[in-house]
């Protein structure tokens, strides 16, 4: 079955992104298709490559990147939410005159329309948040 996921909370602060990750991984292991994982609200912080968690803790950002690589996942970060919270890719950094970008491998920044499209295209949409 084709599933869509929305993640509305940042990593570490709230369990939502862990739950979303564990759910996504289980769904993929069962052979389901993940149409898209959409990161919104503070969820956009799952995509910053600048996180440095202690070595004895999980690396939530890398974990998403690796899952994306392994399963060719579409990890989409909402542009409007990302701009508010200082999460930029190269294009957005340039467009907004910022001197750095911080998006991790496997994520892409795009519009909110991608969430609506995920709702339309997926057979089920599951929201993880606070």
């Amino acid at each position: 079955m084709k599933l869509g996921i929305m993640v509305s909370e940042g990593p570490y602060q709230h369990q939502a992104s862990d739950s979303a990750y564990n759910f996504t991984k289980a769904a993929l292991e069962k052979g389901h298709e993940i149409f898209r994982v959409f990161f919104y609200h503070d969820g956009v912080n799952n995509a910053t490559r600048l996180t440095v968690p202690p070595q004895d803790d999980r690396n939530i950002v890398n974990r998403w990147s690796e899952l994306a690589k392994q399963y060719d996942l579409d990890l989409v970060v909402c542009i409007a939410a990302a701009q508010r919270r200082g999460l930029l890719d190269e294009n957005e950094a340039k467009r907004n005159g910022k001197d750095a970008n911080n998006i991790a491998e496997g994520f892409r920044i795009s519009g909110l329309g991608q969430l609506i499209e995920a709702g339309i295209q997926s057979e089920r949409l599951v929201v993880f948040g606070d």
Binding site: M6, S8, Y40, H41, L112, I116, E117, G129
Partner: protein, 139 residues
């Protein structure tokens, strides 16, 4: 704008959080406005503290935040006119319909008559409404 490849689904946006205390209410409204371009069958539900989003007379001068409550009045322009408010939640909070903003839309099929967008619904009606949906987005 034609989006979504001709498929029309029933989308319900469930709002259960108060405004200002967290950004969920504001960013939910942003999804609704962008989503309107996809010409889906959209309904909004306001439950629990979500009903506070529609409270009239919001004034944010003292907290230095943007007052986004006027934007709910624009929903009619975006063809979003199915706004359901949970009666129980409203009453538990000592509020009635008169305490909420008067959201309206112009009915194109009725000579652009101005009509109210908000409907008060009881638990049974709200549960029935939820059961008709294809996609439920929670905020």
């Amino acid at each position: 704008m034609e989006e979504g490849g001709g498929v029309t689904k029933k989308f319900l946006y469930v709002n259960r959080k108060a405004p200002y205390g967290s950004i969920y209410a504001l960013e939910s409204l942003e999804v609704v406005l962008i989503g309107a371009a996809f010409e889906q069958d959209v309904s909004l539900a306001f439950i629990d503290d979500g009903v506070y989003q529609l409270k009239k007379n919001q004034s944010t001068d003292g907290i230095g935040m943007k007052n986004f409550s006027p934007t709910y009045n624009a929903l009619g322009d975006y063809d979003i006119n199915k706004i359901y408010v949970d009666k129980d939640s409203l009453e538990q909070r000592g509020l009635s319909l008169d305490d909420l903003m008067n959201l309206t839309y112009e009915d194109e099929n009725d000579n652009y008559a101005e009509k109210p967008s908000i409907s008060l619904v009881n638990s049974e009606e709200l549960a029935a409404l939820m059961e008709q949906q294809d996609v439920v987005l929670s905020f």
